[in-house]
Amino acid sequence: MSTSNVKIAAKGISKSFTTENGTIQVLDNVSLEVKTNEFLVILGPGQCGKTILLNCLAGILPPDSGEVILNGKKVTEPGPDRGVVFQQYALFPWKTVRDNVAFGLAIRHMPVKERYEIAQKYIDLVGLTGFEKSYPHQLSGGMKQRVSIARSYANNPEVLLMDEPFSALDAQTRYSMEKELLSIWEQEKRTVVFITNNVEEAIYLGDRIVLMTKLPGTIKMEFPLTSPKPRNYTDASFLEMRLAISEETELAL
């Protein structure tokens, strides 16, 4: 693997927190590399530090040791080059859908007209045409997450970090959102780091799956996925992969 092709990388990241009950080691020497336009899925059980890892990649949390490298440069704080889609949507309740999507552009002082044109493009892309003037509380969970994805996309980041974006949705919506995400990604390729605890979701979306252990979080194994997307949940190769990962996951638990 040539280093020039690496978009974002974590190098030996460790992180611990001190609570009343002592110190908890959350991440222990985690290293990984993500290639440009690769869809990497980090799969792990609940409470394994995946979210902390993602926050380190985003620059929201500083690691205790190790570093995050983006385009060969060290990351110290969050930036518009890395978009984050949060599990709880993190939409601004006082802004309409359109203003939420255009948020990153407004931060950069882009003129209103231009801003709204771009926002409209992504609102259309995620299938929310007609909801531009709605407020988040008027939308369903799936729609909110679409807004969140559009918001990240509109900012044109180099890397998209997605933190269990569909975990709060019901199964039906989840399937359709996964499908939609894939089609958006196919239309506008980005480097994606996608966190999930759902094996099927991981296999359905990923180019490569990184399996994490329970606390302290370390990388246990990697599974490259080569079959063409969109994949079929009932394919033999899909089920095989699922079985393989499940076995490892159970060992990890």
Binding site: F17, T18, T19, E20, G22, T51, I52, N55, I60, L61
Partner: protein, 273 residues
């Protein structure tokens, strides 16, 4: 997830004393700075000493007041005790009446429809305005003063209990109904317990209101108490006594809300476990 309050998690688990010091050193520092500025403003003549007594003198008077009764007729402890008694009597009466009323208003529509308009109409009337009526109805003993405090403390009790029970999860109510609980049983067993956290917030606001209405209540025939102390300080043109009275109200009030917050968080954490 835990990114939000990482800073709180990062506090090192050192010895208790050191921990307390770390928690409060900034408060102590800030109060010292406050006193220093106050002292300087007085000493450097930015403000006439008739208009503001420097803190050094206030502290001397405050310390003296712990055992001397003149000129206002009682020691600081007597004043604090009298005020505390008054505030607590009014507060307890407010809780006893206000919480059930709020709960009933939230649960039984007819109660709400009947009581709400009166409650809304009485609420904006300042407690001091009731003094003459309180005298007419209750005389000049502790009852009338407690009534004035009760009026102020009563409002947050009612409002918070009302909101608390209104926010009861409807699913729980339906479950209780399915198991054949009567409306009253559901109210007692589901509605009331689920309103407890809101009620607690109400109690805190209510105690605050009770404490801040104290001075108004002690305008009514008091012979001791912090409000009375301020009153005497005025009649005797002793700004130092007035400021000691004000600061004591401030300190005691801050202490009371601190203690209540601690109790609340203890109860909240035991509930979580």
């Amino acid at each position: 997830m835990s990114t939000a309050h990482a800073s709180a998690l990062e506090a090192p688990a050192t010895s208790r004393v050191k921990g307390y010091w770390k928690e409060y050193n900034s408060s102590v520092f800030s109060l010292l700075v406050f006193l220093l500025i106050w002292e300087l403003v007085c000493r450097l003549g930015f403000i006439s000493r008739f208009q503001l007594v420097p803190p050094s003198e206030v502290i001397v008077v405050m310390i003296e007041k712990f055992w001397t009764a003149p000129p206002d007729g009682a020691t600081l402890f007597t004043h604090i005790a009298a005020s505390m008694t008054l505030a607590l009597v009014g507060f307890c009466a407010a809780v006893v009446v206000g919480v059930p009323l709020g709960l009933l208003m939230g649960w039984y529509k007819p109660v709400m429809v009947l009581v709400r308009p009166l409650f809304d109409a009485v609420r904006p009337i300042p407690p001091i305005a009731w003094i003459p009526l309180a005298i007419l109805w209750l005389g000049i003993g502790i009852e009338a003063k407690a009534f004035i405090i009760w009026l102020a403390a009563f409002v947050p009790c009612v409002i918070n209990s009302y909101i608390g029970i209104k926010l009861t999860n409807p699913v729980l109510i339906r479950v209780a109904r399915i198991y054949g609980a009567s409306n009253w049983e559901t109210f007692i067993k589901i509605g009331v317990p689920s309103a407890v956290p809101m009620i607690f917030t109400g109690l805190k606001l209510s105690l605050n209101a009770a404490w801040t209405t104290l001075v108004a209540a002690e305008l009514l025939a008091a012979s001791e108490g912090l409000g009375y102390m301020i009153q005497m300080g005025r009649r005797l043109a002793r700004p130092d006594i007035i400021i000691v009275g004000m600061l004591t109200i401030g300190f005691t009030g801050a202490l009371m809300s601190y203690v209540l917050t601690k109790i609340e968080s203890r109860i909240a954490s035991s509930r979580r476990l």
